[in-house]
């Protein structure tokens, strides 16, 4: 059964960071025109009359060594992207705070997205790391690199591992990295389209220099937020109308 996905921009306001009314929220995640780094004891604080709830999510970054997991986490958090490949020898988590506006009722939330990045070779060497990453995970980003065909071909295997009973509900997105290195591109646009249709999993593309900070990451973060929110609604609905859904399945 293919999962039913929200179409892009149907739940949250796309490109909200460009709208005027978003400014006071996005200012809270910026400092001197750069993304602000929050410690675990901090979070964006709005003035008392603007009550904003924060929703927490855990996201696992999956993909082979060198594909760009650490670079993606840095990109999404707006910190410096490493230009050398140094293997990540354990788990590193990165927190991204992202304001989101719901289309339906105009409510604003801060999404607190915690990205879990674990080096592929470390995963292989130490058995306890993968279970730690899977614990209470809400979403998985499957990474492939546009410059490495095998990483693309392996996607279906990777996704299959995260489908089925033991894992529970997990949002799945695919991210193609190094899209900027088109001279070395090893994955054709047609292949990506086919893949997207077969698996009905959205594929996002990243790569290149970070320019203005928000515009680069907004499509990915909004897409992720939209799917997470949708999943929460489905989960909440299915527990509330559990009997109803069962009838539907029987039919």
């Amino acid at each position: 059964m293919a999962q039913v996905l929200p179409s892009s921009g149907s739940i949250i306001v796309a490109d909200w960071h460009r709208c005027k009314d978003s400014k006071e929220y996005f200012n809270k995640i910026l400092h001197k025109k750069r993304r602000k780094n929050f410690g675990l004891l901090e979070s964006p604080v709005m003035p008392p009359h603007v009550a904003v709830d924060t929703v927490h999510y855990k996201i696992f970054l999956s993909g082979k060594s060198g594909v760009g997991k650490t670079a993606l986490a840095a990109r999404l958090a707006g910190s410096n992207i490493p230009n050398m490949h140094y293997e990540t020898t354990g788990i590193e988590t990165t927190v991204v705070h992202w304001p989101v506006k719901l289309r339906e009722n105009g409510r604003v939330f801060f999404f607190r997205l915690q990205l879990w990045d674990c080096g592929e070779n470390a995963l292989r060497r130490f058995d306890h790391l993968l279970p730690a990453c899977k614990e209470q995970v809400d979403a998985v980003l499957f990474l492939f690199s546009f410059t490495d065909r095998t990483s693309f071909d392996d996607l279906s295997n990777q996704i299959a591992k995260w489908t089925g009973a033991p894992v529970g509900r997990v949002v799945k997105l695919v991210v193609g990295t190094k899209f900027d290195l088109f001279m070395h591109c090893d994955v054709a646009e047609r292949d990506v389209t086919n893949f997207q249709e077969t698996w009905s999993v959205p594929v996002l593309r990243v790569g290149g220099e970070v320019s203005d900070g928000l515009g680069d990451v907004a499509p990915l973060l909004n897409c992720l937020a939209e799917h997470l929110w949708h999943q929460d609604c489905v989960t909440a609905g299915s527990t509330r109308h559990h009997s109803q859904q069962e009838t539907a399945t029987v039919l």
């Binding site: 986490a73 590193e92 988590t93 070779n121 130490f126 306890h128």
Partner: protein, 434 residues
């Protein structure tokens, strides 16, 4: 002359068969034939019952060999003193330290078993790549204000409110089922549990280096498997690290529990939220490492103070000492850190005891004799020494408890240096109990 002046290259080979495992450092790699010869000449010595440990080249370059656990050979080649300063002796000490640190960091990441029972060389080569981040950091050694890699005394920061932080840390570590915890502020240890200080000094220094590199990435938390080169070289522990505030991190060494997720959601906020302001005060100490309440003598340009018992150090370079018009220019901040290192090596190789003799085999130590030549000729132990160069004046003194190294501007009369140094020592000790 094999390498460019000022550059350092590290070679790693299997000790038994000389198979190259990796090379790091220096943009231009040494040709394979040179690497082969360097290994060959060491092997030849071995066949003759001679341990070749180091040699100098005509152009002021230096090569140091070292075999670890009969399994891995590290060779370091340097193209001469950094910035042209320091003579060949200083350079050798620096390189010896570097080799020990590199080996320890290989053990830290991979564990001793993988390095000593090599079954599959190709696999080892691949796994060694996971050490490159730390090794490169050690080779570059660019971080200003970090002297622990050299002194093997832990770079510390003395917080204005140590008791509160200590209590929070102790309870946090206890809740995480760990006896080993530390609080790192600006890359320096601001508080640590009793047991953390009982780790081997080299381990504490390496863990600090690892934590600094993790902090630099801006990540919020980590769960890193680490082996302790002395305490647990074959069984990995988990280093959990949490960024409380940017620049302030708390770490614990754990067994299988708690999970990163549960420690973060259940303990970090509970123990540390009440201390946010205390942590901010601690961050405000900045790279000075000393609380504002300690006022330093105006003639102190930079200082390194080592507590010989606890094997901790504090150091700082002051940015603005007002210099009367017409005085010679002061060395830059970066240069002061460099001079501080060189003066430390100068004093400890010639006059003072280095805190822990470089960990070498006894046979090698006999041949090496850095401190020995001078000290052996005397029946007493020097307590103070000074050095005047074109850039600044340096003064060192040691007591049973401390070693202090201070830099002062050239304008300070040499006879006044002793007074400046002794007063600095007593000011800091009285003000902080360090």
């Amino acid at each position: 002359m094999m390498l460019q002046h000022g550059s350092t290259q590290l070679l790693c080979l299997t000790a038994s068969s000389g198979v190259p495992l990796f090379t790091r450092g220096a943009s231009k790699q040494l040709p394979f034939s040179v690497i082969g010869s360097l290994n060959g000449v060491h092997m030849f010595g071995g066949g003759q019952g001679v341990v070749l440990s180091s040699c100098e080249t005509e152009g002021g370059g230096k090569v140091v060999w070292r075999v670890f656990q009969d399994s891995v050979m590290l060779i370091i080649v340097s193209g001469g003193g950094q910035d042209g300063a320091g003579d060949i002796k200083e350079e050798e000490v620096r390189l010896q330290r570097l080799l020990e640190n590199v080996w320890s960091c290989m053990v830290l990441v991979l564990g001793q078993d993988e390095l000593t029972n090599v079954r599959n060389v190709e696999r080892l080569k691949r796994d060694l790549r996971s050490c490159f981040s730390l090794i490169d950091q050690l080779l570059e050694d660019r971080q200003q204000g970090v002297l622990g890699n050299l002194t093997h005394c832990v770079d510390s920061l003395l917080p204005p409110n140590p008791t509160l932080l200590q209590e929070a840390l102790d309870s946090f570590a206890q809740a995480a089922d760990s006896e080993f915890g530390c609080l790192i502020v600006h890359g320096r240890i601001a508080a640590a549990t009793e047991k953390w200080w009982r780790l081997a000094p080299q381990e504490v220094v390496l863990l600090s280096a690892l934590i600094r590199s993790l902090t630099a990435s801006g990540s919020a938390s980590c769960d890193y498997p680490v082996f302790l080169p002395h305490g647990s070289p074959t069984v990995a522990h988990r280093l959990l690290r949490f960024q409380l505030l940017p620049g302030a991190d708390v770490c614990v060494l754990c067994g299988p529990t708690p999970s990163l997720h549960s420690a973060e959601s259940g303990m970090v906020g509970r123990f540390w939220t009440p201390l946010v302001e205390t942590l901010r005060d601690c961050l405000a100490v900045g790279e000075h490492s000393l609380p504002k309440s300690v006022s330093l003598h105006p003639d102190v340009l930079a200082l390194l103070l080592i507590n010989r018992e606890t094997r901790r150090s504090v150091s700082c370079v002051r940015t603005s000492t007002n210099r009367p018009l017409g005085d010679p220019p002061l060395p830059s901040k970066a240069r002061c850190w460099e001079i501080l290192k060189l003066f430390y090596i100068f004093s400890t190789t010639r006059y003072f005891n280095q805190e822990e003799t470089l960990c070498v085999s006894p046979e090698e130590r006999a041949q090496r004799g850095n401190t020995e030549d001078f000290i052996c000729g005397f029946s007493h132990q020097p307590l103070q020494c000074y050095l005047v160069t074109e850039e600044c004046k340096s003064y060192g003194l040691q007591t049973p408890q401390h070693q202090l190294f201070v830099l002062a501007p050239l304008s300070v009369p040499t006879f006044a240096l002793r007074g400046v140094a002794t007063q600095t020592l007593s000011d800091i000790v009285a003000g902080t109990g360090f």
